[in-house]
Symmetry: C2
Subunit: 337 residues, 2 copies
């Protein structure tokens, strides 16, 4: 069985997890990495391939050709920009035997478009921060007593901590809203924002409280298998640097519900804020996220489960469970070329 | 010989370098780590000690007591907030045989106060971005044609990417200047900013160009020993994620000059921007910085040199040199407790 990870970046550990998964499943085959530039995970794979840029017209034909030639069974996208592009072409990949491990295009749009995230969650009665698509609406909500400063402003189609600001008053809301709009046009975020330039900034009620992450594991049919809740101990530039697995039935239940809504394949990475004893879903991504290694360290082995499912077998039950109370932290390792 | 690193955080590699340095020098002894909270480097040390917070009155008495009891020879601070506090007490440490490896208080102030950095460099004829201490002055400079947008605004006493913003016009300058002032008061940056609250935000001409880092190694007398220049390949949240050593005599000469000005002990981490063929010094820190491991990977072994100097010996010449063309990248490693 052959596996291709795209945009693995510094997630060398994921390459290792998949190499190990093949061994554990008694499978031959290689772990490939596709990236547009040199990165540690890229060099750690069994084989590397430099692809055209994701927005290039040649990207999909190139990958289809590559996956066909190398008989790739599982194509695992790891970058938010990559998800909709690969998902939209998942049938072409399927025809040649390659499963794209993420959600369907509609579900990815729910994740990538923060306004759709908000609407979808609200529609299901799931708590999420109040959100607005214009400075006017947000300021009016504060004046009406329905919201309060600080508000968080960010690109509606955005990721990580790119162009994320906090506003403490109306003046900041207005100036920062304009500023983000400008920054979007100057970055690669402009591609997705082009769908609706007038409403490409989202304003949200800031919620202060403990940060949680949930990994929601579905099988290759999109059926729920498990959810692992972690409390985050430290963050850096929007990424989880430390976390501990915790038994939290309400978050596991929430994970099951989100799984049913999105019907993704593989992992769904969910960011949650806790405030006043309530959980607010902040963001969802239908891929392995920066918090996955902490679930993995606690016993969840989704790469192994994916390999087993792809070979028509069922993984042993213990690999779809995580022990609670396992604390992990990210450390720096230097690789030299 | 015993060594204590304070605030090592995720720099587990530095703990390893010092452990190895003791071995290479044929020295017994332990590498200790002092931190106020759990971190990977902390657990990687031979011994750990949880200290009072840096601004606590008990911090220095606690460390003096600890260093005396464990016969610490080298005390290596790794956090900007820690440098002035330990430096100011370096004589008390010296009396019990502990060398604080950084610069004298006046030199640390030149590094930590970005306005003093600017004045000092200008006074020596070293290029650095034009800077102002008020929105008025910066806006006036743009109107007079002496500067142009974007400007970078940041806390005068600040670090990393905390409260760093770019302004593209006068409105943004004014709103962001107020905003940073507010953010300083809400963070631990307020302690140093208390020296001059009215002028705690610095505005600088943004310079676009290649980013370089220079490690300037001095011995324990503060004499220059070597300078290693690196071009940075990727950055994340103000930290160098990838770099390559390059032979660049002008930067080595600049390093020698800065060494003569600051007379620090150990490492000086220098951030440089290149624009139009000229080098602009952006920031200096009299400690091992996030770019040091790339110099180390290329052959510079300052931890070993420090151990040798502290034991009255001279390191072999090759450990104060770095090969050029060595490319390194930071990768993520997961540690579990």
């Amino acid at each position: 069985m052959n596996i291709l990870l795209t945009s693995a970046g510094r997630r060398t550990y994921l390459v290792d997890y998949f190499k190990e998964a093949l061994k554990m499943a008694g499978q031959g085959g290689l772990v490939h990495a596709a990236n547009s530039e040199a990165s540690p995970a890229f060099y750690n794979a069994d084989r590397q391939v430099v692809t055209p840029l994701i927005y290039d017209r040649g990207y999909i034909p190139f990958l289809l050709d590559y996956c066909g030639k190398w008989q790739i069974d599982l194509l695992i996208p790891l970058f938010d920009i990559d998800l909709p592009v690969l998902s939209a072409n998942s049938e072409a990949f399927a025809r040649q035997g390659t499963v794209v491990v993420t959600a369907k295009p509609e579900a990815i749009e729910v994740c990538n478009d923060k306004w759709k995230t908000y609407q979808t969650l609200k529609g299901r009665g799931i708590r999420t921060p109040e959100s607005w698509l214009s400075a006017e609406d947000a300021v009016r909500a504060v004046e009406a007593g329905e919201a309060s400063y600080p508000l968080v402003l960010k690109p509606r189609w955005g990721m990580g901590s790119l162009s994320v600001y906090e506003a403490d008053n109306e003046e900041e809301v207005r100036v920062l809203e304009k500023k983000i709009r400008k920054e979007i046009q100057e970055s690669y975020l402009k591609y997705e924002a082009a769908r609706d330039c007038a409403a490409c900034v989202i304003l949200q009620q800031k919620i202060t409280g403990r940060e949680w992450g949930v990994d929601v594991a579905n099988d290759l049919k999109g059926d729920f298998r498990t959810a692992v809740a972690k409390v985050k101990s430290n963050m850096r530039a929007g990424e989880t640097d430390g976390a501990m697995t915790v038994e939290e039935p309400r978050l596991e239940e929430l994970g099951r519900e989100l799984s049913g809504i999105l019907r993704h394949k593989g992992n769904l990475d969910v960011d949650v804020l806790e405030s006043g004893g309530e959980y607010y879903v902040l963001e969802m991504n239908a891929r392995f996220g920066g918090g996955y290694p902490f679930s993995h360290a606690a016993g969840l082995n989704l790469p192994y489960a994916l390999v087993m499912w792809a070979s028509g077998r069922e993984p042993e039950k213990e690999f779809l469970q995580a022990r609670t109370g396992v604390r992990g932290q990210k450390d720096i390792r230097i690789l030299v070329y």
